[in-house]
Amino acid sequence: MKDLVKRYRKASINAVDGVSFDVRAGEFFALLGPNGAGKTTTISILTTTLTPTAGVVKIAGYDARREAAQVRRQVGIIFQTPSLDLNLSGEENIRFHAILYGLYPYRPAYRLMPGEYRRQVLELAGVLGMAEEVFRPVKKLSGGMKRKLEIIRGLLHRPRILFLDEPTAGLDAASRRNLWEYLRRVRAEYDVTILLTTHNLDEAEQADRICILDHGKVVALGTPAEVKSQLLEEHLILDAADRDQLRTELRRLEVDFQETGHFEVHLKGRSAQQVLRGLKTELTVLRTHSPTLEDAYLRILAGE
């Protein structure tokens, strides 16, 4: 994706404003950003449901604007809000999708569908642990089951790229954890590239690479470790009964520190061991603080 721009009709600012990044085959890539950052707009353009105002988007070698039909064959998508037909059963939703993708001819009932289709549905339902539920009306399924059903539907045509637009939104903690477990299994078994949008930092931290968007622009791009190290570094938290002596020793060692309750010592290239070796004061508090992605994310959004 290069220099992507999208301005909605009647809007005065760009929803996506010159975004460029690439996702490698087999990669787990996360688009991270607050509400309104441009994540869903970006994913809509990538899946060809929205036309960009400017820029070039290529998916699996196909131009998203000129070769939209080929692109659609390569991608599966799980939308932010449920996109299942509640009037149909889980299997009927899957069958509808399979026929739209030209995988199988239209048949009005499951038992009339080719054996290969029935085998594929049962296999995917088995992988996702919903072999029985898949035949129930969708309106009777839990939120977690509906998400799994959407994953089955999204994988049926064996897409090379699976787009997940905030897939755990609205799910409870247990369903979220289960879903990620299933997605890991799916990724391993079906070898798909995953592009995730989320504002859940725990989810993004599991990605191979992340791209943080804010106000339609890329503000950070790299592995979670790279993004964190670009902005933050580890520091030591120290304290002692004799705080004056500790302060004097830290000044003598010429380390950068702040007194925020305890002493917060910024390592700036030194190892924790080097700093500790130079201290004679008996410590009452000693711990290291490793920055989380959340620390980096909040700092980025604060514009620091």
């Binding site: 449901t49 064959r73 991608v75 037909d85 009037n87 509808f96 026929i99 739209l100 030209g102 239209y106």
Partner: protein, 256 residues
């Protein structure tokens, strides 16, 4: 063709799985036919010179199938709001297949509502020969296609379900009177005659009356145009609505 069949069959399944819609679809037209047709027949039938129950039946039949197929197309609006439409739009089928599938599906749904209405008309002793009943099948099919295409044009103008409800009240209610669903429109003031001639429902209702009143003495009192002219008007409107409606809908979906 498989994709069109899948889109169409989904609409039929949805119809039969929605008890409230099923009940409303069957009860409302029957109530109008029996109550309004019966009342008009008692009060005006003799002076008008034709049977008002038959007149109301043909009008309500045309109105119901036309409105049902047009209304059904706007379910793409609710699909869009639940992201279901998006899941169709990211599939590799053409937008035209989606539109044709929707029109076919809603046509089948509308025909499902027409069959019991025709049976009810027989119960109410509306004079229909077996040939006329058989001929009403394909005629209703054509009427549904026009209704579906008309719904497609409306759909391209809507922004959400609320605007859909408002626009439908505004668009359909006047047509019931301009198209002669409940009362004759053979004589109208010139300004209403213009609107009446622009109403697709007028030709739909009149074509049904062409069939239902064929060979009967009151044909010329009830029917406005001959079948050929009605068919020509419907075919022209169908082509215009399909081309304009599909183009607007596809453009709006991809170029928001």
């Amino acid at each position: 063709m498989n994709a069109i069949a899948a889109v169409a069959s989904r609409d039929v399944l949805k119809f039969f799985r929605d008890p409230a819609r099923l009940a409303a679809t069957f009860i409302f037209p029957f109530a109008i036919m029996a109550l309004m047709g019966g009342t008009l027949q008692l009060n005006l039938g003799r002076s008008a010179g034709f049977n008002f129950i038959g007149f109301t039946f043909t009008g309500v039949l045309g109105m119901t199938i036309f409105q049902s197929s047009a209304n059904g197309i706007t379910s793409l609006m609710s699909d869009r709001q639940t992201d279901f439409a998006q899941s169709m739009f990211v599939s590799p089928i053409s937008r035209y297949s989606i539109v044709f599938g929707k029109i076919l599906g809603e046509t089948l749904v509308a025909l499902c509502t027409a069959l019991p209405m025709i049976a009810f008309a027989v119960v109410l002793r509306v004079p229909l020969t077996p040939e006329q009943i058989l001929l009403l099948g394909p005629v209703c099919l054509l009427c549904c296609f026009v209704g579906g295409a008309f719904g497609l044009v409306l759909l391209s103008m809507l922004t959400d379900e609320r605007s859909s409800n408002q626009l439908f009240g505004f668009i359909f209610l006047p047509q019931f009177f301009l198209a002669g669903v409940f009362s004759p429109v053979s004589i109208l003031p010139w300004y209403l005659e213009i609107f009446s001639l622009l109403s697709p429902l007028r030709y739909v209702v009149d074509l049904i009356r062409d069939v239902a009143y064929a060979g009967r003495a009151e044909y010329h009192k009830v029917v406005l145009f001959d079948a050929g002219l009605n068919l020509l008007a419907m075919a022209t409107m169908f082509v215009i609505f399909m081309v304009v409606g599909t183009a607007l809908f596809v453009r709006r979906e991809t170029n928001r």
